[in-house]
Amino acid sequence: MAKWGMVIDLDKCTGCQACTTACGMENDTLPGENWQDVLFYTEGEYPSGQMKWLPRPCMQCEDPSCVHVCPTRATYKDPDAGGIVFIDWDKCIGCKYCMIACPYGVRFFADEAPLVEPDLKEIFPGSGGQLWDPPGQSPDQDRKRGIGVQPKGVVSKCTFCYHRVSKAPEGVPDLDEDDPELVDYVPACVRTCPPKARFFGDLDNPESNVNKLIANKNGIRLKDHTGNRPQVCYLGAGAGIPAFQPKS
């Protein structure tokens, strides 16, 4: 079985947040529950202020902290499903211990007062224990993997769009959005990225493009000292707008 990994080229990323929007549309997440988020950092002050940003999906760590702390074994890493970390919504009790443990902050608990008004949970009230009833098309419900509309009181996270990726033919080295045969199996954020800053493929396959990119362009993993060993790598010298330099 493949070990799915993602490569994000920060030299190409423009911080447009199309990935965030595509992820929300694909997985029907609530506003603020951005499984794929772009973090913006500001530094300095006018007139020499700078902005930097970092797209952040779930790292799908090889040794995930969240799995170790879960007191109900609800979250688990599935080596048979590309090494993706899932949440079993039937077992999740919403204790948020995983959110405390995750070094990357990529887990979300949407069953609280929202950051933005109006509260979509009230506008589209859910039925049958569901948190809300999104107006769009959701992926097929898979509670054991935390896919679909979530029930109340559980934690949710990026699934690498497993409902798409899992349908890919066996043994493909990369899920390339430019390949018409494979385009339907590409995760939403990768599929939509306008500057093509994202790549998705099999980290276990030495022939895969993602492996070549990591090797050739010196890919880095975030917070490697934690030993979590993310399956998401970053390339390049960072994404940002350089500071205004007044002419002397």
Partner: protein
């Protein structure tokens, strides 16, 4: 009044040949959390027919159907048919002035009082049921010891029922119940040759004789099917829906005991109230404990005075899951003298960057997700992602998690217009 949600739940058979024993996996403590070390059922089994490992039970066909596993289970996740369930009784019942003898199925009917309650094994009655059956009536419950227990395969010792009777009696005593209403064991020896069988007879031999009628006499009302254990004589197999773990469980044995003592006292006495000690300097208000609490004895509270935890010892089964899961090791459990009410309160905090309500006791003023956001740049993360910091020394301090002026400055964004937030900061 005593209706609970449990009869609809998916109790499943543990062994196809032993339909009398039913198990509800979602109520089993080790099944809910690997932090639980509960193995009371397997320990209680007199013939080692029941094995418990990591929340899955396996039952051998050597099971005697004595009900001792169910009596030991703190949450009522196991049920054995043939035992009365006090939930289905309304109290106080009529015609309850006379004492009620309880006999085991091995005792021949001609040797016992006509109004006796018959159960497969006296040791299979849990203390909650004993206490509540006593509380519902004016006269005591008398468990008749015929002196056969030592040689009985389900017994193995002189009076195996004595322990739960003592617990029930002391519970009623501490609640101020008069001594004549405490359950007790009474020795009425009978020669062993008069026993109807060497071990507990099969239910077919017993039900033919109308256990239900006898129990109806005792209850003084039409008992209906529920007394025999609805959904238990024919437990559902497989297909039924399981309860999500996020739902709290009823912990019936504890509820029975609480109800029994509350017929005599307004509150659960101190000797039956586990005490949860809280180290307030350690608690970070993460509330993991309250989420894991199986019964809801520990609850999250958000009110005008802040957010924190409430504790109600009446619902506490002392499973210690909260103590073990607490990331800060702030909790400890003592067996008695617990009080109901607020356990801890933290002042409301709002993140100075995103203005979100943050339950944690966060000194840096950032909510968990904002702290994580800046944490990604700490420990060399910034250099890794963005290269060396800019040349301007003034602009150096990029990781604003450590920089007081940067992220939360007044007037940095539209969020400052959110009403009612500033004064709480």
């Amino acid at each position: 009044m005593r209706e609970t949600a449990t009869p609809q739940l998916a109790y499943e058979r543990l062994h196809p040949d032993v339909p009398e024993v039913a198990f509800l996996a979602s109520d089993c403590l080790p099944g809910r959390s690997p932090l639980s070390r509960c193995g009371e059922c397997a320990e209680a089994c007199p013939v080692d027919a029941l094995q418990a490992a990591r929340g899955t039970l396996s039952l051998a066909d050597t099971c005697l159907r004595c009900g001792q596993c169910a009596a030991a289970c703190p949450t009522g996740a196991l049920r054995v048919s043939g035992f009365p369930r006090s939930e289905t009784l309304d109290g106080p019942v009529e015609d309850s002035a006379a004492e009620l003898p309880v006999e085991c199925w091995r005792v021949p009917r001609e040797a016992m009082d006509s109004g006796s309650l018959r159960v497969p094994c006296l040791a299979g009655l849990d203390s909650g049921t004993l206490a509540e059956l006593s509380a519902l009536r004016d006269a005591p419950l008398v468990l008749v010891n015929r002196g056969w227990c030592e040689s009985c395969p389900a017994g193995g010792k002189t009076a195996p029922m004595a322990a739960s009777v003592a617990v029930a009696a002391s519970a009623l005593e501490s609640a101020g119940a008069p001594p004549q209403r405490w359950p007790r064991v009474e020795d009425r020896p009978l020669p062993a040759r008069r026993a109807a069988s060497k071990s507990i007879p099969l239910p077919e031999c017993e039900t033919r004789l109308g256990r239900r009628e006898l129990f109806r006499q005792m209850a003084g009302r039409s008992a209906g099917g529920a007394l025999g254990g609805a959904g238990l004589d024919s437990p559902a197999e497989g297909a039924a829906e399981t309860r999500p773990l996020v739902d709290k469980i009823a912990a019936l044995p504890r509820q029975r005991l609480s109800r029994a003592v509350q017929t005599f006292a307004n509150t659960v006495p101190a000797s039956l109230s586990p005490r949860l000690g809280m180290d307030e300097s350690r608690c970070c208000n993460q509330r993991v404990c309250a989420s894991l609490c199986p019964t809801g004895a520990l609850r999250v509270v958000n009110d005008g005075n802040g957010s924190g935890l409430d504790f109600d010892p009446a619902d506490c089964i002392a499973c210690e899951l909260c103590v073990r899961v607490c990331p800060e090791r702030a909790l400890e459990l003592a067996p008695r003298d617990g009080v109901s009410g607020p356990l801890i309160r933290h002042a409301h905090q709002y993140c100075r960057e995103c203005r979100a309500f943050c339950p944690g006791n966060r000194e840096e003023g950032l909510c968990a997700s904002c702290a994580k956001k800046y944490g990604l740049l700490a420990d060399g993360g910034y250099e890794l992602l963005f290269g060396k910091p800019a040349e301007h020394p003034r602009d150096d301090a990029v990781a604003p998690g450590r920089d007081e002026t940067s992220p939360g400055r007044a007037g940095t964004g539209p969020r400052e217009e959110l009403k009612g937030v500033e004064e709480n900061l």
